[in-house]
Amino acid sequence: TDTTPITIETSLPFTAHLCDPPSRSVESSSQELLDFFRTMALMRRMEIAADSLYKAKLIRGFCHLYDGQEAVAIGMEAAITKKDAIITAYRDHCIFLGRGGSLHEVFSELMGRQAGCSKGKGGSMHFYKKESSFYGGHGIVGAQVPLGCGIAFAQKYNKEEAVTFAMYGDGAANQGQLFEALNISALWDLPAILVCENNHYGMGTAEWRAAKSPSYYKRGDYVPGLKVDGMDAFAVKQACKFAKDHALEKGPIILEMDTYRYHGHSMSDPGSTYRTRDEISGVRQERDPIERIKKLVLSHDLATEKELKDMEKEIRKEVDDAIAKAKDCPMPEPSELFTNVYVKGFGTESFGPDRKEVKAALP
């Protein structure tokens, strides 16, 4: 693998609140550039495939796709380790993949199969990967942020030199529990990084209709913040690195990622009643995070158009194979209905008069 250092300039400057912004020159390597391209293309393909599976009714319920926002997941992972924790909301497929989750687990979970990352019990909104510190996948807007700050508390408690990225949307940014958790994190100097993925809409509501002050990086008031071009994986990487250092040394910080979702909010939203098609295609043409990396790959002569096309074909096959494999996976056993309600296996059944049989002896 070619790790020749390359320096890349972010196309936009950072805007900082109560801190000095990091440099716009980001260190990278040919390998990283190619990796970025490949992983983002894989993410995009995965989401498009999920869309098709949804339309074919193999995925049901709520399904929130991440296409358009890939640079955030990619840039963040490039700056941190798997000891650093991530927690996010329901738009979690690509974060899971970024943490090392497999396509097989993704599609199995989406189709409610045993082999899903949550055994089919969680669904699209509930991906987790404990061994690489991915704490989910949460369905209630904003409620994952206190959890994330609690994880950061545990990191401090255990003297791990690690941080937690607690991700939320522009809509979620108006939830009171964020302000509560931020205040506590600041009081306790926790290594908590609040990442606002500002895709400019919370369902059908434009940011300015939900927030009097849509400058999310400043919404921490007394907590420092940084506004980042969330369509530029390198800007994200730089910001996350900066934030990690900051958090370990000085406590919480907010990162506002200026990004965009191409799909509607979830599969039931066409996504075009509250924004214009022009707006969407404008972003696609001018700010697409994959195109940006592609251009860099080409301009640095790291691959040819043809090689990238081949790579995309390979990815498509990889995704298709994963889907086929997932389709072959069995549905959960009926007994799974009752496991994991309680740790010891009691629970529902324990309400029967035969309860003593499942009586749990405490350690």
Binding site: G112, G202, L337, F351
Partner: protein, 323 residues
């Protein structure tokens, strides 16, 4: 005229907004977007954005604001985009909505309506499949109703808005597209009255919301098998219409409860206790209650199906009860 359940709710809401300038609507995406389940469609255009208010995603605060506005005499209809989200507003609902009339010695009334979709849908996952009636039922001072047909949806919506008490109106995610012909004339439903769905002699089946349809499906089979079940949609989840229920028990001497909420602390438990207390002497067999399993609703389709009561289980339960 014929309409879908969500349209019936919308019609009821619109009529009440026409009738009383104090009625306003607030919630997430209820305005421009017309509501996630289209219950407020067209209202923002007609009544303007002072009466149809899009809120940020702040369930606790906007519920509290609705309650505060109600203290002054407004009649806000507060939509929980999904009822489950209102857990964030639990404190406002219990302590303020439910208790302010009392703690103020009657000075203030809280004529709000809190409404929205709940219940197990089609693989919506744990948080979006909740049946909040179990959590809310002990709150003193609130009334709770659940609609199940376009007819009663409209009638209950209108009655809830006119009530001086805070009313929680439960809708069901899977029932919004039910179609029915409803009267052209204005009507309201009584907030404390159960609905006789099918009179019968052999057994009383008490149910509400979506489970009404599982029961009616089972009833078909049962009739074919020679049973004559009486099906009652209890509709009023708090307080119970023990008059209607009691008369039925006196007639059939057997009770089966079919509910979608969870077994522990559910509506069925309260109903069992109430029947036991009031009509025990009329019972020929213990009340049987079929509830959803006490588990967070799983995503997988098969698991989800096993979570809620299915018609076949109802048939079996009736057969056993009527032995």
């Amino acid at each position: 005229h014929e309409l879908l359940l969500f349209e019936a709710l919308q019609e009821g809401l619109e009529e009440e907004m026409d009738r009383d300038a104090n009625v306003c609507v607030m919630g997430e995406d209820v305005g421009h977007y017309g509501g996630s389940y289209k219950v407020t469609k067209g209202l923002a255009d007609k009544f303007g954005d002072l009466r149809v208010l899009d809120t940020p995603i702040c369930e606790n605060a906007f519920t509290g604001m609705g309650i505060g506005a109600a203290m002054t005499g407004l009649r806000p209809v507060i939509e929980g985009m999904n009822m489950g989200f209102l857990l964030l507003a639990f404190n406002q609902i219990s302590n303020n909505c439910g208790m302010l009339h009392y703690t103020s010695g009657g000075q203030f009334t809280i004529p709000v309506v809190i409404r929205g979709p709940g219940g197990v849908g089609r693989q919506l996952g744990a948080e979006h499949s909740q049946r909040l009636e179990s959590y809310f039922q002990s709150i003193p001072g609130i009334q709770m109703v659940a609609c199940s047909t376009p007819y009663n949806a409209k009638g209950l919506m209108k009655a809830a808005i006119r009530s001086e008490n805070p009313v929680i109106l439960f809708e069901h995610v899977l029932l919004y597209n039910l179609k029915e012909k409803i009267p052209d004339e204005e009507y309201i439903c009584n907030l404390e009255e159960a609905e006789m769905v099918r009179p019968g002699e052999h057994i009383t089946i008490l149910t509400y919301s979506r489970m009404r349809y599982h029961v009616m499906q089972a009833a078909k089979t049962l009739v074919n098998k020679g049973y004559d079940p009486e099906v009652i949609d209890i509709r009023s989840l708090k307080p119970f219409d023990l008059h209607t229920i009691g008369n039925s028990v006196k007639k059939t001497h057997r009770v089966l409860i079919v509910e979608e909420c969870m077994r522990t602390g559910g509506i069925g438990a309260s109903l069992t206790a109430a029947i036991n207390e009031n009509f025990h002497d009329y019972l020929d067999a213990p009340v049987v209650c079929l509830s959803s399993q006490d588990v967070p609703t799983p995503y997988a389709g098969t698991l989800e199906e096993w979570t809620v009561v299915q018609p076949a289980q109802i048939v079996t339960a009736v057969e056993q009860l009527c032995q």
